[in-house]
Amino acid sequence: MAKVKVFVPRDSTALSLGANRTAVAIQAEAEKRGIDIELIRNGSRGVFWLEPMVEVETDKGRIAYAPVKPIDVAGLFDADFLNGGEHALNLGLTAEIPYLKNQQRLTFARVGITDPVSLEDYLAHDGYKGLTNALAMTQEDIVKAVTDSGLRGRGGAAFPTGIKWNTVLGAKGEQKYIVCNADEGDSGTYSDRMVMEDDPFVLIEGMTIAGIAVGATQGYIYLRSEYPHALHILNEAIAKAVAANYLGDDVCGSGQAFHLEVRRAAGAYVCGEETSLLESLEGKRGLVRFKPPLPAIEGLFGKPTVVNNVISLATIPIILDKGAQYYADYGMGRSRGTLPIQLAGNIKQGGLVELAFGVTLRELLYDYGGGSASGRPIRAVQVGGPLGAYLPESQFDTPVDYESFAKLWAVLGHGGIVAFDDTVDMAKMARYAFEFCSIESCGKCTPCRIGATRGVEVMDKIKSGKDHAKNIQVLRDLSDTMLNGSLCALGGMTPYPVISALNHFGEDFGLNVSIDKKLNEKEGVA
């Protein structure tokens, strides 16, 4: 009889809830009972509120048991969970769990299903089909496919990926580079981490396709130092890709070279800004560069460079596999395809939800998120990380779409949604936005370096009621200066959380909302 396959995730969040202890307990119990199982450490499905989620492969498909603590393990064996037996933790077929079933997983198609470091598993689940197709295409056609897919940079800036690639393809240079921005520093986001830990080959494949498309032979993954597991998993996957000739001097016998290396960052949020990242990779302080020149023309070490976010690059393989139209058929308006949305903060059912653009915040927060974790009303959500606007309940019917968010003077950013219940003090959150900016400012431009510190001081005055009306005006003026005068998004977007909090939650700033709210909304910095 074949060994039963048991899956226990190795994703950081699953581990943070004790997945290793669960795995050890299952292995020990199986040995104690003389049962031979095959324990696979898969990635996480991203249903994080159910981790550690254990799955068992049966004739009918994979059956989930969750959340499984070591203390539950003996009971699961008693209930014959290896054959899908009934148990209080039995959730039925994993694929039928509504949270997963209703998603449209394209970029995350394999995440949680496969063993992240098994190349065989990757190949068995449509891996490297995109690269195979790309190798039979001209460089121009690969770039055209990416352009036609409508894919826009998923790191936050939403710049069309194909146009960026086309610039690098057309740039003259003996040496070109592909740089993956894996400095995922936004609070409320973890989709990059999941791709790297749970399906690293898809990122490797995406970068390889990028290299072939634009004629770059060297790639770097600039990985934040807070992700040690991702570092080990990426390095293990890269070594396997090299051994199987998917990376190296002659990728798949095509005669084209592509080498890949992971470089660890060192805890500077500003290095998520692409020019600061390039400085850092060159071994310098991560000071933001003036643009132009664009990195596509003069990037890493002065050479033409594609800088893309993890999710953008990890989406390339499916576009090249299934075709640009397949991807572009998802989405709404100018936001094509899907967005891996991350539910975070005070949310009952936090996790990764990949859906076509167009789903509303309310559907995400309640149908998927199940409301707040505390059981209290959700008062505000911050979308797009620490530089994203706060949205009040009245805006929860906004569809997830770049342009719809822009209309509200908000951003989608990297797709993180952090929920806050009604105990939140929004003036405190505004002060924190300035504090964070002051800690992370690279110091190159004055509006950001000085403005952030002044912002903290102004917020303290507002909170203490000192010269209140005057300081509210100072806050707006300062935000306007930072917004228009900063060199990059760190200083330039810190006003988003600040002013959105002020406009929508004026009562927390000591304003008489009944009179001021309408005025403020009209006046909004945007």
Partner: protein, 163 residues
């Protein structure tokens, strides 16, 4: 409060550092990976090795100093046997991390960037661990822990201190 740990490089530390410097010569953008190698190995980046690094990588000492101090990850002094990072970012704040921070500081009797009197644990702030679906989160050395409270963190501290 907290213990102050003294920079003292042993001969073997110096040998290790020398070999890291040697291994990184000729690597493009070598400073970052070199400093990671040094800190991973001996726990911090000693200021007294700046001249050696600057000479090997053709940088000025000021450039090396500027680099080290720019990045939050690098430290120029030794830390405790374990490093406990507490997330201060928005998602964790939404789940009460501010209260958690003060409880942890009170329990350990130290503030951020300080080390417990027994030299076991150094406390550091961190801005996002990518564990935001299960906030609040802390990281002990290389492992993240989600949905923690002060008691869970205290248990974690005694676990590593006794282990």
């Amino acid at each position: 409060m907290g213990i102050s740990l003294v920079n003292k490089l042993s001969d073997s530390d110096l040998k290790k550092i020398e070999s890291h410097i040697f291994a990184h010569q000729g690597v493009p953008g070598a400073l970052m990976p070199l400093l990671h190698a040094v800190q991973d190995d001996i726990g911090y980046v000693p200021e007294e090795i700046y001249p050696q690094i600057s000479q090997a990588l053709a940088l000025s000492v000021a450039e090396v100093h500027g680099f080290v101090t720019f990045y939050h990850h690098f430290r120029t002094h030794p830390v405790g046997k374990h490093v406990l990072q507490v997330c201060r970012a928005e998602s964790c704040q939404a789940m009460g991390s501010e209260k958690l921070e003060s409880e942890i500081k009170a329990k350990l009797g130290i503030d951020y960037h300080q080390t417990t009197m027994d030299g076991e644990v150094t406390l550091l702030p961190v801005y996002c661990l990518g564990n935001c679906a299960c906030s609040p989160a802390v990281m002990m050395d290389d492992e993240v822990y989600g949905r923690v409270d002060a008691q869970a963190v205290a248990d974690l501290v005694s676990e590593v201190s006794n282990g």
